[in-house]
Amino acid sequence: MRRSIDTDAWRFLLAEPEWDLVGLWAEPGRVHLLRRVGGELDHVSLDCAASYPSVSAVRPSAVRLERAIHDLWGLVPEGLEDRRGWLRHEKEYDFLPVEGEGIHQVPVGPIHAGVIEPGHFRFHVQGETVVRLEQRLGYVHKGIERHMEGKTPAEAARLAARISGDSTVAHSLAFARAVEAALGQEVPPRAVFLRALMAELERVANHFGDVGAICNDAAFAFIHAQCQMLREETLRTADALFGHRLMMDRVVPGGVTQDLGDPEKLRRFIAAARPRFAEIVAVYDDKPSLGDRTNTTGITRKALVDRFAAGGYVGRAAGRAHDARKSPGYPPYDGLSFEVPVFEAGDVNARVWVRIREIEESLKLLEQILDRLPAGPIAAALPERAGEALALVEGFRGEILCWVRLDEAGRIARCHPRDPSWFQWPLLEAAIEGNIIADFPLCNKSFNCSYAGHDL
């Protein structure tokens, strides 16, 4: 439950030593802070007319969130020097200066060479070595948060499903769980299991794609081709089971919109994919020329990962074990058995291995879910009333936060979805430092942050 506090209490909380920043968002005249303290969530809000004490001074992961809050809601973070617009691009943008002998700039984007999302990367390089990378994002900012306001949960769910297309199931699930919690609405058990089935299929599909794409950026096309085939077959299985390759608009507040097709198709897919992927993993493990590219490249240190509370494969590749499916945990995962793989090296190779192990775990989870799938209805009707709640869901990138408040008519008064990319993008700036610029695509792909999910 949210506690409304005053400025002194806000400052006191910021000064506490041990806590993780999970979310920071605003609405007219109010700013919200979600912390994780010793594994417990603590949601506080501060009513403020024009400004509030900045969180960035104690948690640098808040810098971009505060710049976004300033852009969208006009609230000024007291103490944050960086007031450059983040999601609004009307003004000229001054990149941070770098001084030194023989340093030159390499501007990249917003349109990149490949088929990927837009964003600008400003490299300062000395010879081939990156001295500093500064990102500028916000190019695909559509104003999703404001656009959700006044819509029914069913209408807003279509927007939640399009926050980041590759995480459509996870974002839809976070939104649905937040709305259901706000209304105190239970979801039928079958829907709970079907949601997890879709979420794990999404995780597997994305990880297949990433493992292949990372190897491709290390010029190893064989694994890329093999993984592209596995990804395509995963999407076709999803299409056969739920009628959409990405399973968009299948998870909605109240349940799911489509029951499972023939479950044997999924069992056959798992039986075929498992040995084929094992073969690919053996090739990855066995190629020194590939390992030469991925080992010790793009290292994120554990201290930094902890400071940014970065989740997903970025965190777990550097020793940070957090997984929202375990903590705070949500059904049906509390009744399923799975491991959260953790590696220590924090390099591209470790991020590949986290994905490899997660694919294996998710394939096991899919089998468990099929074995235990309860019968019954797949959706419940939602009451129309006011409420406020948040939900945390583990997407393939990491922990997704969604907070929602409904008005008396049960419509969206305010919604804030926070993609895991917010806390991963800044770490990419740190990871590339001291690497050669030619390794940037490799590092970037191993992070695979969402532009759309971040820009909203």
Binding site: L87, H89, P110, I111, A113, G114, V115, I116, E117, P118, G138, Y139, V140, H141, K142, G143, I144, R146, H147, R158, L159, R162, I163, S164, G165, D166, T168, G209, F222, A225, Q226, Q228, M229, R231, E232, L235, R245, L246, M248, E279, V283, D286, S450, Y451, A452
Partner: protein, 181 residues
């Protein structure tokens, strides 16, 4: 690895037969393009993809076209890194305020004759983002569009059927151009 390579060689390709060119796309193109422009493009098209505000769902499916199942390049279609090398801009998403300028510059940098394909429902009519404050409009509100491919996101087969209509149209007209000389 080599066993897999040998098995793949013996087992035949994973690549599937392509779809037929999309009829609606053919009709849209026939109405839109004059014979001279078509004749100059021939049967090979270089495509520059531009995400003008998409949720990245379209990018996932566009990327799938390069995989073994679809193998886009066998049709003479390929993705290029620069708009200066492109015949076709394949644009996704509603156009955001922050991407409008970059889209205009990419269009200006693409040499004529050029075609613009608006892929996905957002590119065609802003989709669920219609009216959002960061969105300036559909692709056709910013640059001239020659072909629309529907879907949210369009599947790789839908994308392929639309792009094959481009090839088909240009191929037929260049044959006609030769015959008339």
């Amino acid at each position: 690895m080599w066993q897999r390579v040998v098995r793949n060689l013996i087992g035949g390709p994973a690549t599937e037969a392509g779809p037929k060119p999309d009829d609606e796309a053919l009709a849209e193109l026939a109405a839109r393009l004059d014979g001279a422009a078509r004749a100059r493009l021939g049967r090979s098209l270089a495509i520059r993809e531009v995400d003008a505000g998409s949720c990245n769902g379209c990018e996932l499916e566009v990327n799938a076209l390069s995989g073994p199942h679809y193998d886009l390049e066998r049709f003479g279609l390929r993705f290029v890194a620069s708009p200066r090398h492109a015949d076709v801009l394949l644009v996704t998403g509603p156009v955001t305020r922050n991407m409008r300028h970059a889209l205009l510059r990419a269009y200006a940098a693409t040499p004529s004759p050029k075609w613009v394909v608006a892929a996905g429902d957002c590119a065609a009519n802003c989709g669920v983002f219609a009216g959002a404050e960061g969105v300036v409009g559909r692709v056709a509100d910013v640059i001239p569009v020659d072909l629309h491919i529907a879907g949210c996101p369009p599947s790789p087969r839908q994308l392929l059927a639309g792009l094959l209509a481009l090839i088909e149209t240009s191929g037929r007209s260049s044959a006609a151009g030769v015959a008339s000389k």
